[in-house]
């Protein structure tokens, strides 16, 4: 695996988007494959696939999505479901070791998904969320991260395969949440060497105007504290630009080669 300054899990094939849900419902392979290949060309490392909008038929739908996406792109997948049975049913179909998105500390999810990850050499996105309550302070998040690290080690999974998501809450209701999440990123990266951190970007801007501006500003803030993976839409030009500029600014782009290459490719704006 080449060293990635920033691992991108591309989020567009998600059934919470109406157009995607419709394509899944009508088994429109062309639409889904187009979403996959556009994201691959835009720099995705993993293609996330989610069929959570189809309770009862999630597994069947996701199996179809996995088949058609793998025909279109030569990238590993991020299998996005909270349901261990769905993960289990999809894993035999994947061509390359995937990311399991996601586990939490909830025992039923943890105990059923980690063995699956170990068996399939999968990477795991693990949320700083316990069965009791939301983790609202840096200390809370780091403590939960520690428990995740322990569980993963006990299962014999390499820390290099663990992506911890500190979870960011909306600034609209938790004004310190972005600083708490990025603070947690920094401490997790320092206190558990070898582990990765990942974050979704959309939650932070809930309830605010110009959400995408907040999302990409948050991304840069998180990159500056050591975030090395993100769940995002790589086809979003402004977001992608902020990502590349952010990596250059924090010194994670040697001689700014990636930034310049992105400019030459017409990807910056």
């Amino acid at each position: 695996m080449k060293a990635e300054p920033m691992l991108i899990v591309a989020e567009r094939i998600n059934s919470s988007r109406k157009s995607v849900a419709r394509a899944m419902e009508t088994r429109n392979a062309v639409f889904i494959q187009n979403e996959a290949s556009t994201q691959a060309e835009a720099g995705a490392d993993y293609i996330d696939v989610n069929a959570g909008a189809f309770p009862g038929e999630e597994l069947e739908c996701l199996r179809w999505v996995v088949e058609v996406v793998q025909k279109a792109v030569d990238l590993p997948l991020s299998i996005d479901s909270p349901d261990p049975e769905v993960i289990k049913g999809v894993l035999p179909l994947v061509n390359q070791p995937p990311v399991i998105n996601s586990i939490t500390l909830e025992p039923s999810r943890l105990n059923s998904m980690l063995p699956l990850a170990a068996d399939h050499g999968a990477r795991v996105i693990a949320l700083c969320q316990s069965e009791e309550r939301m983790a609202e302070s840096i200390d809370d998040k780091v403590r939960l991260a520690g428990r995740l690290v322990e569980s993963v080690i006990r299962m014999g999974i390499s820390l290099d395969n663990l992506y911890i998501d500190p979870l960011v809450y909306p600034l609209a209701t938790h004004p310190q949440s972005a600083m708490v999440a990025t603070g947690a990123v920094e401490r997790i990266m320092r206190e558990f060497p070898g582990v990765h951190t990942i974050c979704g970007l959309t939650n932070v801007s809930y309830g605010l105007p110009e959400r995408r501006l907040i999302n990409r500003t948050f991304l840069v803030a998180a990159i500056s504290r050591g975030l090395d993976a993100a769940i995002l839409d790589p086809t979003d030009k402004l977001l992608f630009s902020a990502l590349k500029a952010g990596l250059a600014v924090v010194g994670r782009d040697d001689y700014c080669m990636d930034f310049i290459a992105a400019f030459r490719a017409g990807r910056l704006g």
Partner: protein
């Protein structure tokens, strides 16, 4: 309407936290009935704020700060009500996010707006099992239970809650209202809920309607 009540409304609508308590004290000093201050000042203002939010004129944090301003005003009037023994509540509501679901932002916004409308609200938090919910219903004996779910995977918990209410003979004695992004009026109807609110303002209107039906 008296000038000072108008000013109280404006302070809440314009989110003037520094001014609200002084204004409420002035109203009390002028001898205005505490209930009138609440109804025609504080609650009336939150109705306007709720409508502005429903119309997408204001954003979530603006609504929250208005609700905070309203609460600060309420804190000044409340002791007077307790003293006079005149603590008429508009009804008691239990609020919770169902089992398996950790989302509480929408629920918390609804709680603030319900409190703003004068309801007594008890927040039972997130990830609440049906068993715990039933315990609380039997102890607190609320007028309404409000259930929130943000995931399609946790929506079935709402159905289960209502089934258990029926089994225990509580259905009808306590009204159930449901909400959350994936929830719809059709779903609410299908599972036998008494109502569905698409946003915080609808939830307040619904709660008022359910209480008047009781």
């Amino acid at each position: 309407m008296s000038d000072i009540l108008q000013q109280i409304q404006e302070a809440i609508i314009k989110r003037k936290r520094a001014e609200i308590q002084g204004l409420v004290e002035t109203a009390i000093g002028q001898g205005i009935d505490p209930n009138a201050i609440i109804d025609n000042g504080l609650i009336a203002a939150m109705d306007v704020v709720g409508q502005q939010f429903s119309d997408s004129e204001i954003f979530v944090p603006e609504m929250l700060v208005s609700a905070l301003t309203m609460k600060m005003g309420l804190d000044v009037v409340k002791p007077l009500l307790l003293k006079s023994g005149n603590t008429q509540s508009r009804g008691t509501i239990l609020m919770a996010t169902v089992k398996g679901d950790m989302h509480d932002i929408g629920k918390n916004i609804v709680i603030m707006m319900l409190e703003g409308a004068g309801f007594k609200v008890m927040d039972l938090g997130v990830d609440l099992t049906v068993e715990k919910l039933m315990e609380q219903i039997e102890t607190v004996k609320p007028d309404i239970v409000g259930l929130s779910a943000l995931l399609t995977t946790t929506m079935p918990e709402m159905r289960r809650s209502i089934q258990v209410l029926k089994e225990r003979g509580l259905k009808g004695k306590v009204k159930v209202m449901v909400g959350g992004a994936p929830v719809s009026a059709a779903f609410a109807n299908e599972i036998g809920a008494d109502g569905y609110g698409a946003d915080a303002t609808e939830a307040v209107e619904l709660a008022r309607r359910l209480i008047s039906d009781l």
